[in-house]
């Protein structure tokens, strides 16, 4: 088929938003598994990531096709590059969600401890950052993208609190060790999700303003 660039760019945006929706669903389910001990949600996330992987490959193929056949420039070109990178980021977020769900199931089985508040706050913050990142992408909203980047610091700080909690609690309750390790692992995954949301924010800024803010 000859290339119809406006149509294919719209379809590409639709595809990335659809992938974002699928990943957001998994993030929400993973957090629910953790905080509300929703085992059904955990199992749903644990089920294969085929759908997400397939979307990532399809998006990459669509980007390749657009670049090869229609020679986009300026905003169109930046959008294709940004979407190509974001699809990889989304795939990694989905992976993190899957790991968190697994740890949530472990924690449920161990039944030993109450999750520290810092972890609960991390989960809420990461989930909200992801929702904001998707909103910013949908609307190509740079201000919101910048707010997502700014929210990362708080998640980093919370992770330090989780660490501090573990350092204090493990010696006092040695029987909690396995569970505490799960908690630390979840914290790391949530921090990674927040990082990845920051990356999405940076890609949105690149898309809209043409600025590379990645390492600033």
């Amino acid at each position: 088929m000859p290339i119809d660039r406006p149509h294919e760019l719209i379809e590409l945006r639709r595809a990335i938003m659809t992938m974002g929706a699928a990943v957001e669903q998994r993030v929400n389910q993973a957090v629910a598994a953790l905080m509300e001990k929703d085992l059904d949600a955990a199992r749903q996330v644990r089920r294969s990531d085929d759908e997400i992987d397939r979307m990532e490959v399809e998006i990459e193929q669509a980007c390749l096709r657009i670049l090869a056949l229609s020679q986009p420039v300026a905003t169109d070109l930046r959008m294709v590059l940004a979407i190509m990178r974001i699809s990889g980021v989304l795939e990694r977020v989905a992976d993190m969600a899957r790991s968190i769900a697994k740890r949530a199931m472990d924690l449920h089985e161990l039944q030993s401890l109450d999750l520290p508040a810092s972890l609960v706050n991390m989960a809420a913050a990461s989930r909200s950052m992801f929702a904001d990142a998707m909103q910013a992408l949908a609307d190509r909203e740079v201000t919101l993208a910048r707010r997502v980047r700014d929210a990362d610091q708080r998640v980093d700080d919370l992770q330090k609190e989780v660490f501090a909690w573990a350092q204090m609690e493990i010696p006092r309750h040695v029987e909690w060790t396995a569970a505490a390790i799960d908690v630390l692992s979840v914290a790391r995954k949530l921090e990674r999700i927040a990082d990845l949301c920051t990356t999405i924010g940076e890609e949105i800024i690149f898309l809209v303003e043409g600025l590379v803010v990645r390492h600033t």
């Binding site: 088929m1 945006r13 938003m17 699928a22 957001e24 669903q25 056949l69 229609s70 020679q71 949908a138």
Partner: protein, 302 residues
């Protein structure tokens, strides 16, 4: 076997509707994203176009100008109602090949050919065919727009008057339809009696396309149709080609690879009289199988 219906006699709905472009409203992401997701899961992946028939079948086709062999053993299927681009460096034989499809090379005394070149099963090379009718069925548009020194109306009416016995009201209708399909009607409808030579380059080229269409062809040959035009006219013609492919098999020779990438379904790469590689345009421009093809489309020579 589906019968080829001549566009002339088909019940024609003017192809005026703009391409449908789905709009996506992503103002409210949460609900919108969930419904996008639901939609994605419901839809089967879109299937490719139904099997396409071959319009021009080429097997072991070779041609010479005197002792010089211009084409070597070309074998390819040109699909019906799709756009096939012929690319390659100067002198590779792509224009020669194009001109055999409607026997324009008959005008060159030393030209001869061997092998198979069939148009919908008819042997184009046979001595017995009506070459004039062949050139009605296989229209041609040239690099430099060449309107006749007549009125706009008479340019378009020329072919039908020559080939068909039709009354004026029907002819008027045909001229209008052809000009509409060539995306020129709105610009000339109030001055059909004016000389075609007064039109701009881009308009003249669209007139030549209207003229070719009016004769009711099955195939349109275009030999670098945009080379003499400015970028805006070029874009216009490219849009037109995309619309025309619904009705006509189109073969376009172009030295502009980006144009080939934009407009065509199939691309055939010629080099020194050989067909090096042909395939879907997407495959040629993303994963060419032959290293020479790769070098050419990457702009390393030619």
């Amino acid at each position: 076997m589906t019968q080829m219906q001549s566009p002339l006699t088909a019940d024609i709905a003017l192809a005026a509707s703009p391409r449908r472009v789905p709009r996506i409203d992503v103002s409210n992401v949460t609900s919108r994203s969930l419904s996008l997701l639901a939609e994605h899961r419901e839809n089967a992946s879109p299937s490719d176009d139904a099997e396409t028939e071959t319009a021009v079948r080429v097997r072991g086709f070779s041609s010479w100008y005197g002792d010089f062999q211009a084409l070597h053993d070309i074998t390819v299927d040109i699909p019906q109602r799709q756009v096939t681009a012929l690319i390659g460096p100067s002198g590779c034989g792509k224009s020669t090949f194009l001109r055999w499809v409607n026997r324009m090379n008959d005008l060159v005394p030393s030209a001869r050919a061997s092998g198979t070149l069939d148009l919908h099963g008819m042997d184009v090379l046979a001595g017995t065919i009506d070459v004039v009718d062949l050139r009605r069925r296989v229209g041609m548009v040239f690099q430099k727009p060449n309107p006749f020194p007549k009125s706009i109306y008479d340019n378009v009416a020329f072919g039908p008057r020559l080939h068909l016995k039709i009354r004026k009201p029907v002819l008027d209708d045909l001229v209008e339809r052809s000009l509409r399909r060539a995306a020129l009607w709105d610009e000339v409808k109030d001055r059909l009696k004016d000389s075609a030579l007064g039109l701009s380059g881009g308009q003249q080229q669209r007139l030549c396309i209207a003229r070719a269409i009016a004769a009711g062809p099955e195939v349109l040959l275009m030999d670098e149709p945009c080379s003499a035009l400015d970028p805006k006219s070029t874009a216009r013609i490219e849009e037109l080609i995309a619309e025309l492919r619904d009705r006509y098999t189109i073969m376009i020779v172009t030295h502009n690879m980006q144009q080939a990438a934009r407009v065509s379904d199939l691309t055939a790469f010629f080099f020194e009289g050989w067909l090096v590689e042909s395939g879907s345009t997407e495959q040629i421009f993303t994963k060419p199988r032959n290293s020479q093809t790769e070098e050419y489309v990457s702009g390393r020579f030619g």
